[in-house]
Assembly symmetry: C2
Homo-oligomer: 320 residues x 2
């Protein structure tokens, strides 16, 4: 089958790969659409030494499964697969299992392929009223919702999202559903046009006043964005780190300690609420799509996604 394969930080298109074998309690899923996220872009720069088939955002069709009831279902899939035996798996789920594999990231072939195998426990059926082009946003929307699982978001809180990119725009919409005054902060007026169309307040990040937000979400994944986020959050405020960082960065620890800031790392979130919001049309995702490519055009798709300011680039394995 076809797939996008990463090896030693080098991405390649391959058409010679074997079909994945679905193990017991797993499904073989035909990938309908997959999405490129910033973590994928970090991986092809060498992040975490990932090897194999890339990709973790997808919507697909179950072609075979140990439980026949799944066959023919349109599904999305959570990305962490734990050992199901340790205290972490049994207590809170697979997301932090030390033995976990992670779809397209840690020791498990990803979804930039014709087919993928996933445990049935990871699958969630997609409601009929959520078309493929919206369902493919379930995973990043769930990641945005993770913030609301971790922290209360008061409707009167002054909230800023630094980075109006593919993930930032989902976070902004999710947090605005709390009823609050949410501001998307970017580095160029160009980057703020889409958040404005989505009805979000916007501002230039370098013009935001120090200590002026109760909660700031860092969604750029770069050191300059983090420095702004820490500068903007008020004493006793909360800074949410929502982007995958490859490695270390310099942080102003004086502000963090003297201002008694709380910093919260935030990663994978709940799929069911994401599908509910997509089903109800309460999160706009259509305008985030900037391009669709086949797997054979995968390298061009990645080049497009890596351009500054690009939002979501989708891959349709079998072409458009």
């Amino acid at each position: 089958m076809q797939a996008l394969y990463v090896e030693n930080g080098e991405l390649s298109y391959r058409s010679d790969l074997p079909m994945p074998a679905a193990g017991p309690n797993e499904a073989l899923v035909k990938v309908l659409i997959a999405g490129i996220c910033s973590t994928d872009l970090e991986i092809i720069k060498g992040y975490a030494g990932v090897q194999g088939i890339l990709g973790h955002e997808f919507v697909g069709l179950v072609e075979a499964a140990s439980d026949e009831a799944w066959v023919g279902k349109r599904v999305v899939g959570t990305i962490n697969i734990g050992c199901r035996e340790c205290a972490i798996c049994l207590g809170q789920g697979p997301e932090h299992c030390p033995q976990r594999t992670v779809l397209g990231i840690i020791n498990r072939p990803g979804v930039f392929a014709d087919y993928v195998a996933l445990p049935l426990a990871n699958l969630i059926a997609v409601p009929d009223d959520v078309p493929d082009e919206r369902a493919v946003f379930t995973e990043p929307l769930a990641a945005a919702l993770r913030i609301r699982e971790q922290l209360p978001v008061r409707p009167t809180a002054r909230v800023a999202i630094v980075g109006p990119g593919r993930l930032g725009l989902l976070i902004g919409q999710v947090l605005a559903l709390a009823g609050g005054d949410v501001t998307m902060l970017g580095r160029s007026t160009h980057s703020l046009a889409l958040p404005q169309r989505l009805g979000l307040k916007t501002g230039m990040v370098d013009r935001g006043d120090d200590n002026s937000f109760d909660m700031v979400v860092e969604a750029t994944g770069n050191e300059a964005g983090l420095a702004h986020a820490l500068r903007l959050v008020r004493p006793l405020g909360v800074l949410v780190m929502k982007s995958t960082y490859a490695g270390a960065a310099t942080v102003n620890l004086t502000k963090l300690v003297v201002g008694e800031i709380t910093v919260v790392g935030s990663r994978c979130g709940p799929f069911e609420p994401a599908l509910r919001l997509l089903s109800r049309g309460q999160i706009e995702v259509g305008t985030l799509i900037e391009g669709e490519y086949s797997l054979a055009e995968g390298l061009a798709a990645f080049a497009h996604a890596a351009q500054s300011g690009t939002r979501k680039v989708l891959l349709r394995p079998s072409g458009i």
Copy 2:
């Protein structure tokens, strides 16, 4: 009067300074004993551009006050003086008032002097059963207690304190009062002798397993200590930043985000509970004292305090 004075990061002993003038609703306090803390050591290295009389840990005697009832009382004093008008002062106190002065740190002469002036609102009377040598620990003990104001500390939590120094040993004792399994981690067996005498569990910091503590308190104030703390805390765990850092440091953001760590900056705490614990004898401070000096010997006192592994060095303005 005499005082230890810092100017352009240079500490000097001066005996030519005028007595402080106590304003309305202030007291003139004769300093009985003062303590040197790590923040003072950072300040004389240039931290925060502090100028003036240094020092913020003290116990003293009220010599004059607008309210006569205070005269003759033995007191300790909180260190933040807010504007008393802004939403922060009115809502949560002076600690984060943007206009605040801070005793011996920001725009307010400190306690390494014969006398200090402080608002009556900052004074707390010391119970008769707490001698001067214990009362002088009220401020750092309050800072240790701040952690318990910010976060729940479960008695079953695995808690580590990185840095068995003057502040770390107070933190360790405070957190152990929750009934938990508290480990003091240091870089040398020598540094672990005192925590062992205090009945705390100890370990070498570089031998602690990754992800092995639910809560880690960083109390070294250096980048290596912070790196260990982040390494030791488990996914979904809490890292408390308890030391003043001068400036920026490099932080492993991959662990912070992927492990969904919560980092909490922590500074000044409540004095009344600190005095209660000292009065009840539930916190041992006597063995933390490593030297006492007069103000005239102040430079020698600072040289002693700055030696690696030194715990508390006290100053008695009028000599011992």
